[in-house]
Symmetry: C2
């Protein structure tokens, strides 16, 4: 069975078991997952909505802005392609037409309530007054949560290329370089291996406490901590997301100690990964490691699943009871703030859950990375 | 009056004139505009919602995820800062608490219906059953539509740096280079001048007809057309968005002719820009130029306003009756498909509307850019 038919069958089976007649998918990640087509504009121009409609009979339709028709025709495995012309018709009006064509005028339809804008939901309700719409956020997320081997391979490649770019840029930097110069070298290395930059946290010295700070003109001085959290998209729509901490020249004993404790907490958490236990267990293992090592723990979550989306279900937080299952990909990313030194430390690596435990997709870094002094 | 107080006063005045008691802003661009703080995660992790509440008395509150508290404290001019802890509380629940604190329990509240997710709107309605919520998408967009001089300066700098990076990369490329290599050189140049890459359309040869195609391993051959549409964010949250077309070695006569006609259409459209006429006039001027030059016209829109958001109001389409006003920034971007050659041509430049006409923020390129042969 092809990837498409296998995904479609999962959606069909789940929507039937949920007592629905159809589901209407429009979040960029899930639309990409079901269509096989990545539309850049679905993210950067949110009004340019794209939809996948799946019916209880297992039929899939794909609706895109007519500007994207050629792309959708070439890249998507869904043959039943429909388009709308921007400004002539609202995307939600076009998709309600599609539901009419399928005689889904008195249907129970699952929607992604965390993504579908209020205005689009209202248009759907107005055009289909006899339909009932209900949240299908969690079932869709749960289907995407178990990665296929090809997905794991793409995520692993993206992660390894990202780690290589990070290591290369930091070990070729020097005191006096600006944050921006080192960041640019890192992104250049990523792009030259085919990753499109997606986000860019790169801070040094006192700015390392800004969780999502961006690189500036600050010049790196011996003893400075560098904290980064970067990611790319590879080859067309799987993400990397990796955090690392480095020091310029040589670490102070306290810096080395902070990092070692953070690394210990990460490794203890990773080693706890196995199928059958609730995700929240990983959070508690991490918190306990912080406690034992006497470092302050205050993270609302310590990691997340990832794939086409950056934060995919489940996130590793204390209220998450989902059981760990083979095929899940998890980013484990503890963060440590040292308020005395005014520094933030961060590390983030990827594992895939196997039948009995886990496999590392990226290799954690046991010591602070050192920018040559 | 500070930038903040001037923006706040505009919002306050408009919401009162619309008969509202408060407005709740949460689209990333408008939240950044009102708070002065750019939160990377608001875009890349959409569930991490941030809100600005403005009341009829002119009070502004800012609600962010507690992970972003330090960033918001340092970067935002809104002093009344509130936070929520992810997974303990839904952002919409936290913002409804804020409305309760302001005694806005029986209020008329404007919301951004094109951005606010259905689930968050439902939480608000459930928590505030006596409030009425109505669309405030257009008024917010109209306030942001008229740029302040500092905004125009940021957009101009971003645009000029982008054009310089494009020109540099193309004129230093050579036949045999891959799309990816030239694209990477372009982005490296952009980043080294402080622009964070935002999107990346870069195609060559037959792929130039893929409106939003991304760079791959295809190697550039003499005679190949190159079409690109790239943008960055500078210095923290203003965007550039620029399209250019180039040819490897020397253009065929038909290529030079196609480009010249596209450039003519762009210039005729730009020269029509002046305050007081409806935006749709620009669309018709462009279409008429295509007609006169006997080239096929099929674009649903031929440009858009831009600022913190990529496609800001108004877009230049035939149904858009908004009048052109001083302070608007407009991207003029005609596209030409040559189905016989199987090529797509694109050019995009920026103007700001002045009291009597327009000023170019980036300089249009009258001939195809040539990659040295």
């Amino acid at each position: 069975m092809s990837t498409f038919h296998s995904r479609l069958a999962k959606v069909q089976q789940q929507l039937i078991s949920d007592g629905l007649d159809a589901v209407l998918i429009m979040s960029p990640a899930a639309t990409t997952y079901l269509s096989g087509c990545y539309l850049l504009t679905q993210t950067v121009i949110p009004k340019r909505e794209a939809y996948v409609l799946v019916t209880g009979s297992g039929h899939a339709s794909y609706l895109v802005c007519n500007i994207e028709e050629k792309m959708a025709r070439e890249d998507s495995w869904i043959e039943d392609l429909h388009t709308y012309v921007e400004f002539k018709e609202e995307p939600a009006t076009a998709v309600s037409r599609l539901l009419h064509q399928h005689n889904l005028t008195h249907a129970r339809v699952g929607i992604e309530t965390h993504t579908l804008p209020t205005a689009s939901a209202q248009l759907l309700r107005d055009a289909l007054p006899f339909c009932t719409f209900s949240s299908w956020d969690t079932p869709m997320a749960e289907i995407m949560m178990i990665k296929e081997p090809e997905e794991v391979a793409a995520i692993e490649t993206a992660g390894r290329l990202t780690l290589r770019a990070i290591t290369h840029a930091l070990t070729h930097a020097a005191p006096g370089s600006s944050e921006r110069a080192v960041f640019t070298a890192m992104m250049t290395e990523m792009m030259s291996h085919g990753l499109y930059p997606m986000f860019n946290v790169f801070t040094s010295g006192p700015n390392t406490l800004l969780v999502h700070g961006e690189p500036g003109s600050r010049s790196l001085q011996p003893g400075d901590l560098i904290r980064l959290d970067v990611g790319g998209r590879w080859p067309s729509h799987y993400l990397s997301d990796m955090a690392r901490t480095a020091v310029v020249a040589a670490p102070a004993p306290q810096q080395a100690d902070n990092y070692r404790k953070l690394y210990n907490a990460q490794m203890e958490t990773i080693e706890a990964v196995r199928p059958g236990i609730p995700i929240s267990d990983l959070y508690h293992v991490c918190a306990a490691s912080y406690g034992r090592q006497n470092i302050p723990f205050s993270m609302p979550h310590i990691g997340h699943s990832m794939g086409i989306g950056l934060h995919e279900h489940p996130l590793i937080h204390p209220g998450e009871t989902t059981l760990i299952q083979p095929g899940m990909v998890l980013n484990i990313e503890p963060f440590l703030a040292d308020p005395v030194r005014g520094e933030g430390y961060h590390i983030e690596d990827l594992v895939v859950v196997t039948d009995t435990s886990y496999r590392l997709l990226t290799d954690p870094t046991p010591e602070l990375i050192v920018v040559p002094g």
